[in-house]
């Protein structure tokens, strides 16, 4: 049996072609203003800039590591802009664009990568959870959280992000089972970026990932992950289903990680020559720019202003990153437990005494 993993089926949702042509689909109406379209473009440009700046900071030795999102901007902006403030997000570790849309300051994102914090940001403040680095395990937390939301009768949904590699984890498949059985209001958003470090999609699956949904009893949607409008439309649909009690959805966003898995990886060693060039033709930002131009939704001064804004943002990130304070040694013992633990207290006191001996 041979199943194509390339998006050629009529089920593949694309609203904006790589050339920036809008393709009408009657079942997916978009309720967007002209401003919304310009905002999408602004988000896409700014998060690419945040990402590029962070990669540069790692190269300059200011960050220990960075997981670039380059190429996945539309999948993240389109899905995150479909969320409401009260919805809750469980990211993996590459959702810098989602974080941006949730209002998490990019500098806070850098904290764990610079090693000045164990987590980085206040997850409850923006309903954006901490990054999870046990691949796929966040899908279980999202499912449990959604079950809690369901019990409260709240009209909130939960979105959990993961990748094509994580789709092979037991946790992810178990989360599908639980969410499906309990009809939990959770949207499983898989960014299929084609590569899990050095392993191509063919090492994870023999059928397109969205088709697995069928076996778990939830709808599976296949969307052009480099098309911000299509991603926004299908995520909005899935969120509505979750909020209205129709249960979970699996969205597979077909995209490409144009950069490295992390700054510790060199993708040119693993990937076929020419692949990146092919995907550059499907760049998520260029097609929106063409769309805005063709439809006269933005003029040159708009594009110039966004560019200037991104320069300012990069300047601020660079400066604030370098200014981050190192934590004090005794914070090592903070929040190991919610309640007092005698061993932690004893060892904290010993370290405090030791530190005091230098004074």
């Amino acid at each position: 049996m041979s199943v194509s993993m390339e998006p050629e089926s009529p089920g593949f949702v694309q609203l904006l072609t790589p050339e920036g042509e809008y393709v009408e689909r009657s079942e997916l109406s978009l309720d967007l203003t002209e401003d919304d379209h310009r905002e999408f473009y602004r988000d896409l440009v700014l998060i690419r800039r945040i990402d590029t700046e962070a990669t540069a900071l790692q190269r300059q030795g200011e960050l220990g590591l960075w997981a670039p999102l380059l190429g996945q901007e539309a999948a993240q902006v389109g899905s995150a802009r479909a969320l409401q403030a009260h919805d809750y997000v469980f990211p993996s570790y590459r959702e810098h664009g989602v974080a941006w849309c949730r209002g998490v300051d990019p500098v806070e994102l850098l904290r764990p990568f610079r090693g000045t914090s164990h987590g980085g940001w206040e997850p409850r403040e923006k309903n954006f959870h901490l990054y999870t680095t046990s691949v796929g395990s966040q899908t279980l937390h999202a499912t449990g959280y959604a079950m809690g939301v369901q019990r409260d009768g709240a009209e909130s949904a939960v979105v959990v992000y993961f990748g094509d590699g994580a789709a092979s984890q037991g946790d992810v498949n178990e989360a599908f089972t639980f969410a499906s059985v309990f009809n939990a209001p959770v949207v499983f958003f898989c960014q299929n970026n084609q590569w899990a470090i050095s392993e191509p999609l063919e090492r994870q699956t023999r059928i397109p990932l969205h088709r697995r949904a069928d076996g778990f009893g939830l709808p599976g949607v296949w969307v052009d992950g480099n098309d911000v409008l299509a991603v926004y439309a299908v995520t909005s649909w899935a969120l509505r289903a979750a909020r209205e009690g129709r249960g979970p959805t699996l969205i597979e966003a077909h995209t490409y990680r144009m950069g490295a898995h992390t700054t510790s990886d060199d993708p040119t060693r693993h990937r076929p020559a020419g692949e990146l060039a092919d995907w550059r033709l499907k760049d998520p930002i260029e097609r929106v720019k063409s769309f805005l131009r063709k439809n006269r939704l933005a003029e040159a001064d708009f594009f110039t202003a966004v560019e200037a804004e991104s320069d300012d943002l990069a300047d601020r990130i660079r400066k604030d990153c370098r200014d981050m304070a190192d934590p004090e040694p005794l914070t090592l013992f903070d929040d190991v437990y919610a309640e007092r633990h005698p061993l932690v207290e004893e060892e904290r006191a010993k370290l405090a005494d030791y530190l005091a001996s230098f004074e």
Binding site: S137, Y145, A175
Partner: protein, 327 residues
């Protein structure tokens, strides 16, 4: 005071806490309609509904992981992992997720959840249903680990665990399942986590144990009477561990025997022996002895199982050994 069996005390603790706090809920395999594989949650679903007492698909990782997510949304889940051995299936969620959430979120989240699990030890349950893995768990910062040897503690420790804002692993003993004891009716009967109990006061040797092994330590102490006056300390909590209680007893007796049903090598007895050596060196009059199973998996055949787990005679021999060596 009413007499209850060990499992009934567990059942009562959950019933009272489900009644007391609507955020409390119970998740696991067979915990609902069946009332638990061994009856610990009998009639709870009937009383509190399918939402709060929920049968789940069979996946220990997801039961624990979903409970963690649910705890972030404001619930206080109790989950049941049917056998201690199956904790291995859920270890990422227990060790990397639940134990770390407070630390990594700078205290913005806690995991006020309880993982109940049962050691099948001593019931012919074999290599994959009879292990004692408490050392794995007590080794992890962020977790608390308790184990009751008496029905009253089974109730009081579980209730404390449910009200605790940290993730607590509550280990139960199948071998004690039908053991009877007086159990306070007080709905606020709480046994503090981190406090040992002296089950038998003595002057000559301290025997430290927990779970079902405590009763064998007590039987050994009775057998040694009046030759040796044994103090039996029931640790009750491995993390936090009652260091003051342990040290006070060892300072008094000068001799220490640790009895546990976990394999000896890299086991909790080594930690306890090391603590005693560090803090009570001058008081110790003999080397610390451990009475534990050998470095082999739990066997199925009953005669091998009996040889494998510490018996009263093994404890008696160890106590005699430390008294003979005494200076």
């Amino acid at each position: 005071m009413p007499q209850l069996k060990y499992w009934q005390a567990i059942n009562q603790a959950m019933a009272e806490e489900l009644e007391r706090d609507p955020a409390t809920c119970l998740l696991g395999e067979d915990v609902g309609a069946a009332g638990g594989a061994f009856g610990a949650s009998a009639k709870l679903q009937e009383r509190f509904g399918e939402w709060r007492v929920r049968d789940t698909p069979i996946s220990e990782a997801t039961i624990v992981g979903a409970a963690l997510g649910a705890s972030m949304s404001g619930l206080r889940p109790i989950v049941e992992v049917m056998f201690f051995d199956f904790m291995a299936v859920a270890m990422d969620q227990v060790v990397n997720q639940a134990a770390k959430i407070s630390f990594m979120s700078a205290g913005k989240y806690h995991a006020p959840m309880v993982v109940r699990t049962m050691a099948g030890t001593g019931r012919g349950t074999g290599p994959q249903h009879g292990q004692n893995l408490e050392g794995w768990l007590a080794h992890v910062p962020g977790l608390k680990v308790v184990w009751a040897s008496e029905p009253a503690d089974a109730k009081g420790l579980l209730k404390s665990a449910i009200r605790d804002d940290d993730p607590v692993v509550v280990i139960e003993s199948l071998a004690l399942w039908s053991r009877r004891g007086e159990v306070p009716e007080d709905p606020d009967h709480l046994v503090p986590i981190g406090r040992a109990a002296i089950r038998r006061a003595g002057r000559d040797v301290t025997v430290v144990s927990w779970g079902a092994a405590v009763h064998r330590a007590l039987a050994a102490a009775a057998e040694l009477e009046p030759e040796v006056d044994v103090e039996v300390v029931d640790l009750r909590s491995l993390s936090p561990l009652d260091r003051e209680g342990l040290f006070a007893s060892v300072e008094k007796t000068g001799r220490l025997v640790v009895v546990h049903e976990a394999v000896g090598s890299f086991g909790p007895g080594a930690e306890i022996a090391s603590l005693a050596a560090d803090e009570c060196f001058d008081a110790l009059r003999a080397p610390v002895r451990r009475v534990t199973p050998p470095f082999a998996p739990v066997p199925f055949p009953p005669q091998l199982e009996k040889a494998y787990f510490p018996q009263v005679t093994d404890i008696v021999a160890a106590v005699r050994d430390v008294t003979r060596r005494a200076a």
